[in-house]
């Protein structure tokens, strides 16, 4: 699976080299005009919300290259995003899979009508198949069924999953998967619980 994704990434970069001129051609809009329109749409929102839609370097690059960055840009993105990952101080990556399943099911949080005090979810099922029992799953991301089992529960893969959930783009530049730890949407414990959902042999993902 991992190699599949990586070769998919490589293919994407290869394609990018050819599609770039076309992209550049259709994107002949002054960035200032785009930002002015964004302000026109969202300028009335509170300051804390304004900050959220100011693009960081990674978002800018992925928008410009339409998620197919050329190799050098891709490298710069993963280098930057890797640096942004904060690993657990206690060196432990595995939390409680039962709580992880709840977090994976819930898509709550982050919308402008959501109560900031309520517990947020990671919305994993929106994009991934995880537990075989859950039939309502999306297909934007690969199936994660038997994720840990397939990887023989290896320590290095456990750590890699933590990094993936913390910052998807450290692993795959311009991934469509949100950088859930980096954006502080999920906290460290929630990510550990999700890693347990993927790697605990008792988790419905591996059953």
């Amino acid at each position: 699976m991992r190699t599949l994704i990586h070769s998919a990434a490589a293919a994407l970069f290869a394609v990018a080299a050819f599609t770039l001129p076309a992209v550049a051609q259709s994107a002949k809009v002054d960035p200032a005009v785009v930002e002015k329109a964004v302000t026109g749409m969202f300028g009335h929102a509170p300051a804390a919300w304004q900050e959220k839609i100011v693009q960081d370097e990674t978002q800018k690059a992925c928008s410009l290259h339409r998620n197919a960055p050329p190799a050098d840009v891709a490298k710069a993105i993963s280098a930057r995003e890797e640096k942004n990952v904060v690993l657990p101080a206690d060196g432990k990556f595995l939390g409680d899979w039962k709580s992880g399943e709840k977090i994976a099911q819930s898509g709550y949080g982050g919308r402008h009508t959501d109560d900031p005090k309520r517990e947020v979810g990671g919305n994993c099922y929106a994009c991934h198949q995880l537990s075989k029992k859950e039939l309502s799953f999306g297909t934007m991301g690969p199936s994660l069924v038997e994720y840990g089992k397939i990887r023989k529960y290896k320590d290095e893969d456990v750590k890699a999953a933590f990094i993936k959930i913390y910052n998807a783009q450290a692993v795959f530049p311009c991934s469509n998967m949100p950088r859930l730890g980096h954006s502080k949407h999920l906290n460290e414990q929630q990510i550990k619980d999700l890693v347990a959902l993927l790697f605990d042999p008792e988790s419905p993902v591996n059953k």
């Binding site: 749409m41 934007m140 949100p178």
Partner: protein, 275 residues
């Protein structure tokens, strides 16, 4: 195109009517359901959206505002008061306003210029909810229905229309917000779904864009309201974890221009019914 579009509409209709269908009878039932769905769409008694259409007609003819006149002289692009086919060409450039406007922006403009109506209350009720009707939803349902059966004619002659399409495209790909989403995240790749919800590809000309844009405004069964493109895009930005998108802002119109361009030639069947 027609068949696949009808099939997807049919899936919705069947969900509403029966909540499912036994596989063995599917073929036969499909034929019947297509017919039934067609009837349901055009039958004012089966499609609740026609209630909105009727209210919209009354509002169009209602004298109000400081000038106490109706909207009947409002020019939606085809000449004052001409409604047939006007929606099929919106958004478009208007010389008097020197701007590209979608139907909702244009209606607000006419209310202000022709009726001298204070539109604050209208904008406050832009999205209807239980116990609160929306003049805009009603008017859009009525006016869009006057283009039902016609084809989308995306307007791209005026330089400002071209600029808006380009801006819309750039906005479509602009990633941002806490979840790094852009429209392209969900509406660019084929065959993707969120949970069980299929996502139409809107980033290129074709059937998906045509059947999507040709079926708005729509009566959303889950919300018991006729929703307009303004609401749909507001809703997508809400899901994207972006702030509350301003009603009638030019960015929304730019996105609509871009989507209409990709939907050019698509058949309009509105108001439709969706989940």
């Amino acid at each position: 195109m027609r068949a696949s579009r009808l099939l997807s509409l049919l899936a919705v209709a069947m969900g509403i009517l029966w909540g499912g269908v036994p596989a063995a009878h599917a073929q036969d039932a499909t034929e019947k359901e297509i017919e039934r769905y067609r009837e349901m769409l055009s039958d004012p008694f089966s499609n609740p959206a026609f209630l909105f259409v009727d209210r919209g007609e009354a509002l169009w003819k209602l004298a109000r505002g400081e000038k106490n006149v109706s909207l009947e002289t409002c020019d939606l692009g085809e000449g004052p008061g001409k409604l047939e086919g006007a929606f099929a060409k919106l958004p478009r450039y208007f010389t008097d306003a020197d701007r590209v406007m979608d139907l909702e922006q244009r209606l607000l403009w006419c209310m202000e210029k022709i009726q001298a109506l204070d539109t604050r209350d209208i904008v406050k009720r832009k999205f209807g909810r239980p116990g609160v009707t929306s003049d805009m939803q009603d008017l859009v349902a009525f006016i869009a229905n006057k283009s039902s059966g016609l084809k989308i004619e995306a307007q791209q002659n005026h330089p400002k229309e071209q600029e808006m399409a380009a801006l819309g495209e750039a906005l479509f790909y602009r990633r941002g917000g806490q979840w790094d989403f852009s429209c392209a995240t969900c509406h660019e790749a084929e065959g993707q779904r969120i949970r069980l919800q299929g996502l139409p590809v809107l980033s290129k000309p074709g059937k998906a864009a045509q059947s999507t844009m040709g079926t708005w405004p729509t009566y959303r069964v889950s919300q018991s309201q006729v929703r307009t493109m303004q609401h749909r895009l507001w809703d997508c930005y809400w899901q994207m974890r972006w702030p509350d998108a301003a009603y009638g802002s030019d960015g929304i119109t730019a996105l609509t221009v871009y989507l209409q361009k990709n939907a050019n030639g698509g058949e309009i069947q509105v108001p439709s019914i969706k989940r």
